[in-house]
Symmetry: C2
Subunit: 253 residues, 2 copies
């Protein structure tokens, strides 16, 4: 089993267009600090599943037939942009699983092309793709959004973005089915005022403490959080790290 | 003055996702045959204006402050996709001129960020950006669409995509103000049945004959037209050629 962070960035990414903050400058100088649209890939045997599809080069990275499905968290552009070009393609259809959202994104649902949006997900109702077991988990965001709890090859991964805090039922599920690896939205530096739509670092660390996964990787990182982390280099809580594009997790050793 | 074709492709581009036709195979083998989303750049002195913004790497190609404006033909995704990421940027706003279209594309108009959509264009009412004079010309497409007649440094360029045929008033304007260079939608190979939304080669050649520009470059080319051209290598009409990504025109010699 191989889990790869394809992108760890908040909307706009890092570097942010036109921004010269220390984090954006650093990412222009050293490409490993670039943060692309938040997304990931799970591979096990011959099965490959993408989590979100916001990468601009999604179709180039994943040629026709190379993916078994895409799990969409929600229909904001930074999570679906890569689907717009490939939908006009030829060959096998690509199954897109995601939340019920009547508006979708622009005309994706009215002109799906080779994309197959017919699957209907229900919260907490697990389904399988080959031998990967997936449970959709409701999140709290500005439009219908699902996280995913993924059981594969004896490992448990929770992918939880975009969200601010977690619904009580999702928190309870995660406390019961404690993940080995948890990817968690943390777009913002610590803040005294409540955030909308995305976690700040305080809220993310508090969720890590409540759920107690073996490892938490914070993702959907903004340039503001990167700049804050540059100014506050002390370690985060034990078991918590900041995801990087390209980072790989290979399951329990 | 320098006019550059940034992209010459129909929606889906060449190669088309999952397609193994001769044209798609050729473009995978030789990168000069790749066709990106139809778009162009006009440069004169210190002024730079983009025509459409569908390139996935639009923000990387055009860092903050490097463009004076974008002229949008219409709000289909392959013409605006590059705006979604840069809108969240910092710094100077970027003027986006385009047709009145209450829906725009997804949430671009409700969350414009640094994009300035306030300019209101009227058909045949010319305006100036520095010393570049621009006249919007109505086209015929599945949503409100404008072509542009551009006068710069003694040269006249008409940019006419996406369109099937031309409205009578636009045709009359172009016959009166004969362009030196005309970029014209030609998505499809010759067809006996009428096309919707885009010209086929027969219609494009007939428009070239009626308008009689010095040069016509066909653009918004589909893989189907490329494959047809590979099977029919005889020259097109005098003065007509097929645009390529990166192709440059430097005005009248």
């Amino acid at each position: 089993m191989k889990f790869t962070v394809l992108g760890s960035g908040a909307v706009g990414g890092v570097p942010l267009y036109g921004c010269d903050c220390p984090a954006c400058q650093r990412s222009r100088a050293v490409s490993s600090y670039i943060r692309r649209p938040a997304s990931a890939l799970i591979e096990h045997g011959n099965t490959r599943i993408a989590l979100d599809a916001g990468l601009a080069d999604f179709g180039t990275r994943f040629p026709s037939g190379s993916l078994d499905a895409v799990l969409l968290t929600h229909y904001h552009m930074d999570h679906v942009a890569g689907l717009f070009e490939i939908r006009w393609g030829k060959g096998a259809s690509l199954a897109i699983h995601g939340p019920v959202d009547e508006h979708g994104c622009d005309d994706l649902h009215t002109h799906p092309g080779i994309l197959d949006f017919s699957a209907t997900l229900e919260a907490f109702q697990c389904f399988e793709i080959s031998d990967i077991r997936i449970t959709p988990l409701p999140l709290i965001h500005s439009r219908p959004t699902l996280g995913y709890f993924i059981e594969v090859d004896g490992a448990r991964i929770a992918y939880l973005t975009d969200t601010v805090d977690l619904p009580a039922a999702t928190l309870a599920f995660l406390q019961t089915h404690r993940p080995d690896l948890m990817l968690l939205d943390c777009s913002h530096p610590p803040s005294d005022t409540p955030r909308r739509n995305h976690n700040d670092l305080n809220l993310a660390l508090s969720l890590h403490q409540k759920i107690a996964p073996l490892e938490t990787w914070l993702t959907h990182i903004s340039h503001d959080l990167d700049a804050w982390l540059m100014a506050h280099p002390e370690p985060l809580s034990r078991g918590v790290s900041i995801a990087q594009d390209g980072q790989v997790w290979r399951g329990l050793v």
